[in-house]
Symmetry: C2
Subunit: 263 residues, 2 copies
Amino acid sequence: MPVTDLLKRGRARAEPAASERAPSAASHALEPLTRTLPEQIAARLAERILNGAYSPGERVREESIATEFAVSRGPAREALRLLEKDGLITILARRGAMVTNLSADEVREIFEIRAVLNGLRDRSVAECEARKQLLPLLEAEVARLAQCARVPALGEQYVETVLQINRLLNRATPNRRLSSYLASLEQQTARYSRLGLSTPERRRQSVQRWQRLVKAIRAGDGAQAERIARERVLESRDAAIALLAAKVATQPGARQPSRIATT
Amino acid sequence: MPVTDLLKRGRARAEPAASERAPSAASHALEPLTRTLPEQIAARLAERILNGAYSPGERVREESIATEFAVSRGPAREALRLLEKDGLITILARRGAMVTNLSADEVREIFEIRAVLNGLRDRSVAECEARKQLLPLLEAEVARLAQCARVPALGEQYVETVLQINRLLNRATPNRRLSSYLASLEQQTARYSRLGLSTPERRRQSVQRWQRLVKAIRAGDGAQAERIARERVLESRDAAIALLAAKVATQPGARQPSRIATT
DNA sequence: TCTTGTTGGATTGTCAACAATCGTCTTGAC
DNA sequence: GTCAAGACGATTGTTGACAATCCAACAAGA
C-alpha cells in the first residue's frame, strides 16, 4: 500500500476558506458542491477500474481500501455500494466485493440495451427544439472525426472524438434520466468498446454513419436517427464480443469468486 | 410507531435448525438464501411505498426506521440506499432521505425509456427459441384478459392479469439484465401506471393489442412485437401524465425537501 | 418591514469494537 | 487415496457513540 491518498478536504476546515465555492460559472442546480467521502473514494476506485489498475474478478476488501484512504470501513463500504450501483463492482452478501467480470453474454446484453437506449437518445435529440444550438458543435466534431479517419496514426484522437460526440449527444437529450442510464451503461462496457474501430475501412464506414446521423438530426428525422444509432451500437457489440472471444481463447482462466488475486 | 416488526430470523440461531435451507425445489444459482437485514428492511419499506402508506415527498429518517425495525442505524441506512438504487427513495447528502416524488416530466422520461426497453424485451422473446414453452401460458393469460375486459366489474382482476403477463414476458427474455432494469423501472412508475385502462373501450383496444403481440411472438416476428410493445407503453405513458396533470390541478402543493411531513 | 448574522436542535456522517458468517485447512475414517 | 466432519482464520454484518453538518427560528441592524 504505497500511495496513502489524502482526500479529506472538506473536513477539519478551520482555515479562512480562501477559494471556497468558486462563484463563477453557473453550476447545476441541487448538485452538492461538497462531495461526500464515499463519493470521492468511489470516484478514485472507478478511475482505477477503468484504467485497468484493478483487473476483472479481482477481490476488493473493505479493510484494505479503508486503510489506503485513511478512513474507517464505513465510507469504504459505501463507496463499494456506490460502484455496485454503476455495475463496476459486484457484491455478494457476506462474501465481499470484486471488480465486475462480465461474460461475453453479459456484454452482449448490455450492448443490446445500449442500442435501443442510444436509439431513443438520438431520436429525442433529432426531435427536440434545442438541437439548433447543438448542430454546429456536432458538425465540427464529425468533421474532425473525418480528418482523423484519413490518417491511420491518429487512432487515439479518433477514439477521443467519438467519445466527445457521445458526450455531446448525452448532454443534449431532454431526457435527463436517459443520459444517466446511458452513462452508467457506457462505463460498464468501456473496457470492451474501444476496440471496435481498428481497421481504416471500419473507420471510414463509421464516419459515414455519423455524417448520416447529423443529417438526420438536422432534418428532424427522429426515426432515421434512431435507426442509425442502433446500427452503430450493434456493430460495436459485434466487435466487442469478437474481441472477447479472442481474449478468452488466449487466456481461458476466467477466475471466479474464490480466494485469489487479492493484490 | 405501533408495529414493532420482528424480522431478525437468521440471527441468534441456536436452535437445532429444523427447517433450514429447504433442499427441495431447484433454487436459482448464486442467490443467497439468507437475505441480509438491510434487504429485508428494504423489502418491507418498498411494500409500504408502493402501497401508498408513505406518500411521495415524505421524509424518512434513519433513526425512526431503525427503532421501528429494532436494528441499528447502519442497516436502516443501507436499506435506504438499496431503495435509492431502485428509485423509490431519493437521498440528498447530509439532508436525508425521502420518498421519491416524480414530476410529470420525470414520469414521462421513465415511460419513454420503458417503451424502448419493453420493445427490446418483446422482440427478444419473439426471436428466441424458448418461446415455444412460453406461448401456451401467454395465450391462456391473454384469454383471461379478454374475459375480464368484457365484464366491467372485473377491473381489479384485469389489472392483475396484465401484471401477470408482464411478469411472464420479463422472465422469458434471454436478456437477464434487461428484466431487472425493467422491473426497477416498472416499480418506479407503479404508482402512476395502473390507471390507464379505465374505460371499457380502452380495455378492449388493449386486449386486441395483446392478442396481436402473441401472434407476432408465435410467428417469430420480432420487429412487429417491438412495435406493438412500444405502442402499448407509450399509450400508458399518455394515460399516466393525464392522470398526473389532473392530480396536480387538484392539489398543487407538490411539497419539496423541506421540514414537513415527517410521519 | 426586510435583510443579515447567530444560535440551537435535529439529523446525517464517521469511527472503532463486537458478533456472525464463510472458505479453507486439518484430521480422521473408510 | 478419497471423502466427510470439525476447527481455525479471515472478512463482512451490526452496533452504539462521537463529530460534522444542515435547517429553522430568533435577534439585531438598516
